[in-house]
Structures are given as C-alpha cells and as structure tokens.
C-alpha cells in the first residue's frame, strides 16, 4: 500500500512543478462554463423549470459538472496506449507493482492536484462571476465528494479499457478520441440525462456513463434527493464493480499474447 501512496504523492508533486499551466486551464473552463451558462439562461427564457430542474440548479449544475471534470478527467487511455505501442509496458510489467493499479494511482495523484488547485479556486471564481447560488449544506458536499470518487473510478476504468485496446488494435487513437466525445455527451456534462428522450434514458440506465458526471453534479445542485440519491450512489458502486470484470479479463488475455518488438 505504501508504494502506491508514494506514487500518488510523486504525481501530485510533479503536477505542482508545472502548475502555471493550470491557471490558463481555469480560464478555459470558465469560458466553457460561460458559454453554457448563457446558453442555458436563454434556453430557459421565461420557463421556471424544465424537467423538474430550475434555472438556478441548471447553472450550478453546469459549473460544478465542469469543475468536477477536472478531478475525474485523466489521460490514462493515451498513456497506456502509448506505453503499449512503444513497448515500455514490458519494463512496467517486471517492476514490483501492479501496472494497472499504478496507473490508477497516478491518475488519482493528478486528480487530487486538480481538485485543490483547479476545481476549488475555479469554482469560487466561476460562482463569483456568474453569481451562482450555492447551498452551504455539508451533507450535500459530503455526498458530492463520495459520488465524485466513484465517478473518478468509473471514468478511470473506462480509460483503462480503451487504453488496453492498443494491445489488440495497432492504432487506437481514433477509438480514444471517439470515446471522449461520447463520454462528454452521455455522461451528462453538456446536458443533464433527464433532457434525453425517455427511450434514450431507458437505454442509458444500462450504461455506466451517467455515473461520471450527471450523478455527482446533480447531487451538488440538489436535483437528486432521498431514495433516488441512494439509488444513484448504488448505480455508481455497481458499475465500479462490474467494470473490474472486463478489465481483468482483457488484462490477462493481453499479457498472454503480448509481443514486444525491440525495446
């Protein structure tokens, strides 16, 4: 366990060394949030609420969804694919740690860094600029944090799965790109799941994507409460467990048929 904590710490410090990049990052996210902020305000127009979501909840939702993205987002798919393609994975395999777990920890180190140096200051700035109404409810915040940890897990697992595809496809960059676009839409980052037509919502009940953005953001905007909140968290946990299965299977298959050229 100690070595994995150390990996988190090292990644965190690495990010800290290049922190200036993050200030422009905050500006980019603010610009994106701004675009959706005005768009949603215009969409609501004089309507008080759409699909049971009020305009104030919606703007909070957009802002927190982007800021939470900074925490769960990582480039593990790209990193894993690159290490497989360049043959570096061979060295990683003989090191005294579990390769995939190490990757997760690196992602976590990045995520924790972004949470403190990006999400929190970013959210304060955004809340100030767009005059968001944020509730100071500690249970809400606690539940949001819990849901965010699960969302990190689901997103990271999906990243690992797409990254591992590089074992079987020689170039999976297009695949990675496509996955990213799909996640932005179906996770609820740009539009809450409740805005989809009913049939699409029914399909998405059987897909893990809404566990990434919709559930934590809605919890923060207090759009999910009571029983449905418990169900939402349960939904996330079930997916975290379910996604372990394909990863383990693919990982064992891939290790068996791994051929590294050169190196």
């Amino acid at each position: 366990m100690g070595k994995y904590l150390e990996i988190i710490r090292i990644r965190f410090l690495m990010m800290l060394a290049y922190r200036t990049n993050y200030y422009t990052g905050i500006v980019i996210y603010t610009i994106n949030i701004g675009a959706y902020f005005f768009l949603w305000k215009a969409i609501y127009g004089s309507q008080g609420s759409i699909q049971g979501v009020t305009v104030t909840q919606m703007t909070t939702y957009v802002a927190i969804a982007w800021m939470a993205r900074a925490f769960y987002f990582n480039n593990l798919d790209r990193e894993i694919a690159e290490e497989i393609r360049e043959g570096k994975v061979a060295i990683e395999l003989i090191r005294p740690y579990n390769y995939l777990l190490t990757k997760v920890m690196q992602g976590l180190g990045e995520g924790i860094f972004r949470f403190f140096f990006f999400s929190i200051p970013g959210f304060i700035i955004v809340a100030f600029i767009f005059q968001l109404k944020v509730s100071f409810n500690l249970t809400t915040w606690g539940l949001f944090l819990l849901a965010s940890i699960f969302s990190f897990a689901i997103n990271t697992q999906l990243n690992i799965l797409t990254g591992l595809m590089a074992f079987f496809l020689h170039d999976n960059m297009g695949f990675i790109q496509a996955k990213r676009v799909i996640i932005d839409l179906f996770s609820g980052l740009t539009i809450p799941i409740t805005f989809f037509p009913i049939w699409a919502q029914d399909v998405m009940k059987y897909l893990p994507f809404q566990g990434i953005s919709y559930i934590p953001s809605m919890i923060f905007a207090e759009g999910i409460k009571g029983d449905s909140l418990l169900n939402a968290l349960l939904f996330q946990v079930v997916w975290v467990i379910l996604l372990c299965i394909p990863i383990t299977v693919i990982w064992y298959k891939a290790k068996k048929q791994l051929v590294v050229q050169g190196g």
Binding site: A35, G174, A178, D184
Partner: protein
C-alpha cells in the same frame, strides 16, 4: 501561378501519404463526424424542451451550426497551425522554411494542411440544406456567391486570429496554452450572439470576431434583416483580420533569430 502549382503538388503528396494509412484516415473521418453529431444532438435535445432561444427557433440554430462548420472546416484544413511554436520555432525547423523560395507563411500552410477535415464542410452543407428546407428558405441567384464570400470571410477571421497567436512564437518561445483557449472561445460563435452579455457580444464582434464565423453570416441566409449589416461586413472583417495577421507575421519573421542548432 507558381504558388498554385506548388499547392497542387503538395496536395498530391499529401493524399499519397494519407492513403498509405487508410484505416487511420477513415478513423479521423469518423471521430470528426461523431464530434459534429454530438453538437447537433445537443441542439436537438434542447429544443425538445423549448421552442425558442431568444427568438431563434430550432431549425435556425441548426442552420447557424451548419454554416459555422463550413468556414471552420476550411480553417482546420489549411490554417490549423496550433503547434507552430513547438514544431517550427522550438525545434529550429523555421530556419529550413526561410530557405524556401516562397513566403514563409505559405510554406508552413502547405506543410500543415489537413485536407481530411474538409469533410466537415460537407457535413455542414448537409445540415444547412436540412434546416433550410425545414424553414422553407429561398435562394436568389447571387446567394451562392455571397455564401462563398462569407464562408471565406469566416475562414479568414479564424485563420487571422490563429496566425497572430502563432506569431507570438517569434518573440517568445515559451509554451503557451492560448491556442486551446481560443478554440473554446471560437465555439461561442456557433450560437446566436444576442443570448450573451453585451460585453461578450462586443468582444465577439470587434476584439475576437468569432461571431463573423457563424451567427452573423448565417443571419443573412435566414433573412434576419436586423443583422444584415454585420452579415455583409463578414468578408471585410475576414480580410482586415487576415491582413493584420500577415503583417504581424512578417514583422515576427524579421525578429526571428533561430532557436535550433
């Protein structure tokens, strides 16, 4: 003529290299298409719950998005020099460019072409035809000419802004992340300008004129006469931004001292 000849030579070579790796070529098509589809789905989903956004209906917004895709595709195909600083300045590649007998910017453009992105223009066209027929838009004989002029104007706006940003590299070779920032600001031009705060409206019109890429020119074809002045100003704006950009580029080239070995 020499420039045109060179352009076709480079295009020929480009296609040859791309067709060598067909699977990759195809995949980049698919992922482009998917990104466009996602943006479209967003608009369609929103209009399931409302019929107007600040006086614009669904088909009008879809039309604006379709129009936006055309100049944007042209820009990405020819002027997508976002990694200019890394590829040319930091690695000293620009020295090689300077030894070529044509204008340095043209040489960079030739080397950086991404012709597969032109497909986005076709997607945009299809979207416009779909939305336009829903709206019952009629065309006059000179509309296609105006369309070409406005699409080119929009492309020049984008091109100019990105050339100016690339030129910063001549003065400072430090990494900046302004380029991705600009891409995100550019997305504001896809939606009607009157939904934004007046300050943002002003910026999108006169400072970073991205509104001239989507909403202003599209307003002409949607027969929104209140925006006509801006619509017709599109090609002029494009030329102004582009000329300023080329001037800054030329000054930058004079300043350039070389960074490689």
């Amino acid at each position: 003529m020499f420039y045109l000849d060179l352009f076709f030579q480079y295009t020929g070579q480009y296609l040859k290299t791309k067709f060598q790796y067909r699977a990759n070529f195809f995949l980049s098509f698919v992922s482009d298409l998917m990104a466009q589809a996602v943006n479209l789905i967003f608009i369609l989903l929103v209009f399931n719950h409302t019929s107007f956004i600040e006086g614009w209906n669904r088909d009008e917004i879809v039309f604006i998005y379709g129009f936006f895709l055309v100049p944007f595709a042209l820009f990405v195909s020819f002027f997508n020099i976002w990694d200019f600083n890394d590829r040319y300045i930091v690695k000293g590649e620009f020295d090689r460019i300077l030894t070529r007998p044509i204008h340095s910017l043209f040489q960079v453009v030739l080397e950086k072409m991404e012709l597969e992105s032109l497909l986005g223009a076709i997607t945009g066209f299809i979207i416009m035809v779909y939305a336009g027929s829903n709206l019952g838009l009629s065309l006059t004989w000179y509309d296609p000419i105006l369309f070409i002029l406005m699409a080119l104007g929009g492309m020049l706006v984008y091109a100019g802004i990105f050339i100016i940003l690339a030129s910063i590299g001549f003065w400072s070779d430090a990494r900046t992340s302004i380029m991705p920032l600009m891409y995100n600001i550019g997305n504001y031009g896809r939606y009607p300008i009157n939904i934004y705060h007046p300050i943002i409206r002003f910026v999108l019109t006169w400072v970073l004129p991205f509104a001239f890429v989507g909403v202003y020119p599209a307003a002409y074809f949607l027969r929104r006469s209140e925006w006509y002045l801006y619509s017709f100003f599109t090609p002029v704006m494009g030329l102004i931004v582009f000329i300023v950009a080329v001037c800054i580029w030329n000054i930058g080239v004079k300043k350039y001292r070389g960074a490689g070995n």
